[in-house]
Symmetry: C2
Subunit: 361 residues, 2 copies
Amino acid sequence: MNKYNRIFNFAAGPAMLPEEVLEIAKNEMMNYKNSGMSVMELSHRSSLFNDIITEAEDNLRKLLNIPFNYKVLFLQGGATTQFSSVALHLLKNKAAYINTGHWSNRAIIDARVFGQVDVIASSENESFSYIPDCSNLNLEGYDYLYYCDNNTIYGTKFKKVPNSFGIPLVCDMSSCILSEEIDVSKYGIIFAGAQKNIGPSGVTIVIIREDLINESSVYTPNILKYKIHSEKMSLFNTPPTYIIYMCGLVFKYLLNNGGIKAQEKKNIEKANYLYNYLDHSKFYKTMADKNSRSIMNVVFTTGNKELDLLFVEEAKKVGLENLKGHKVIGGLRASIYNAMPFEGVVTLVEFMKKFEVQYNV
Amino acid sequence: MNKYNRIFNFAAGPAMLPEEVLEIAKNEMMNYKNSGMSVMELSHRSSLFNDIITEAEDNLRKLLNIPFNYKVLFLQGGATTQFSSVALHLLKNKAAYINTGHWSNRAIIDARVFGQVDVIASSENESFSYIPDCSNLNLEGYDYLYYCDNNTIYGTKFKKVPNSFGIPLVCDMSSCILSEEIDVSKYGIIFAGAQKNIGPSGVTIVIIREDLINESSVYTPNILKYKIHSEKMSLFNTPPTYIIYMCGLVFKYLLNNGGIKAQEKKNIEKANYLYNYLDHSKFYKTMADKNSRSIMNVVFTTGNKELDLLFVEEAKKVGLENLKGHKVIGGLRASIYNAMPFEGVVTLVEFMKKFEVQYNV
């Protein structure tokens, strides 16, 4: 709790944003940098907005140490649009997908509109509660390898980057980007919707190796072509200017607070604190395999449907919001993205202890 | 000028927003309706956001008197995405397009990816300075008729809805929606990017007659399917929540200020004031045909390139921003969308008079 009476929001996304970032947005709302305009009112061709988008890209490049031969695009349409765009650009013969649940499955469905998609690894046999071994897949003849790095619904996360044996590796990082250090050079395309670790919903970051930009299927709508967006520096059509501004504020905030290294440390501390409590509890059970645990989405249950619902209701009363699990899997879920303070996790655990004492019969 | 030192912003879009709307956004930034969260942080599945999007749709329906057999969609990707979506859904045999300049031409290019597009009327012969007669087009065998209602670059506007003789009429209303009363029932699909009269950039409103929703080409990316977005009430994937909130605030503001009828009256007054001055001036020349004049974008010139540039610079110094014409046509342009107050136009004309006295040699 704080001066604005804000609560701890454990939503899977759109999710919490740093309070300092929201304060800047509030203070600049009526008149941005003495321009006499709100950022929302700036022309996307103005020098002020050009500074915003250029600085946002520069800072993202610093944060993720993005190599020079990768373009950064700020696009609309969410990660879901990338499910189609990726296939329209890279799927010529056949594509290899790793199925680790709902979102990789959605990517598979959307790619199949345009060609052959083979699921070459899956954890469906165990309700997606683990990450399959992807160190030695047979990728002969495949155009690219696709996976979803962090699975928000099941609370699982790849601990090792799958070995793509030289074919382009495509990754949906929507729910873990900026949460830990990564080696961008291992990837062909990384994409991420903003609404978990980056900013408000409405923009998708695409980080794409230059050699993958040019070719695309003849059926590609012009608006989905990486080449067009790349050449026009994300200004082919009017971009979501205000959302990009917000993302830029988050990037700056992260840089001013030790960058991704420091953020990763904080995230591990938060996750460890929560998992450690869960592992010692006989009341709550975690749902993901221990070796596949996400540090962004912690999925657990009391094992009792009604008790889980009561948990959500009671938590809400003390300012702990959105702890309900996804309908696909049920139970409880605490999404603890970058902007969730350690204090939020501590407060949650305190509540969990009390709830356990009261309802553990 | 006012308490926030705001200026008059004549940009073609993103453009001015009502100050009252920005003030609400500012005041609600840190804690929306005592939820302890910013609107940016609300889950798109929460009841609070559900209220926001439902109310936004209801109010838009009231404003435009949208019949029950039309769906309203809040989509991403800008009007440019609709250039492809429209063709992917409606283009089976051949499509008829009216070419009134840059934006209809862009729509033509994007539609041609998917089939035969014929330009059945055009004002290209006169540099798009007028709107061709579209009362009696030969539309036999065409799947639909497409046009762009208000042409921001050339400052032209259809004064009569083209007669589509029963085939679906598709209209890009990006730069004139909500500026005047319209009869939605004449249209098959109306779409509009938000960033001129609706709200910040990042959302596109699609108003579509129900019978046009279902069929689409087999090459349609799932994310572009009207059927999916319609069934999921614009929540198929995470929508641009904050931008929809802002649009909703604008809709409410318009309803509270007399609706579209009152807004149309104000817009005509503003445009008449400016055109009247221009028509009586021997220094400035308007560029659009008198019978085709837009009341949103007033395009004019001193006839001298350097003087036009000086005009833009001098105007900027007195708080009149973004008066430069589009690079395609040059000259000067005052975009006077809904949110531009009458006072802004009066201030502009006062400046123009002084500039004329100083530089009319």
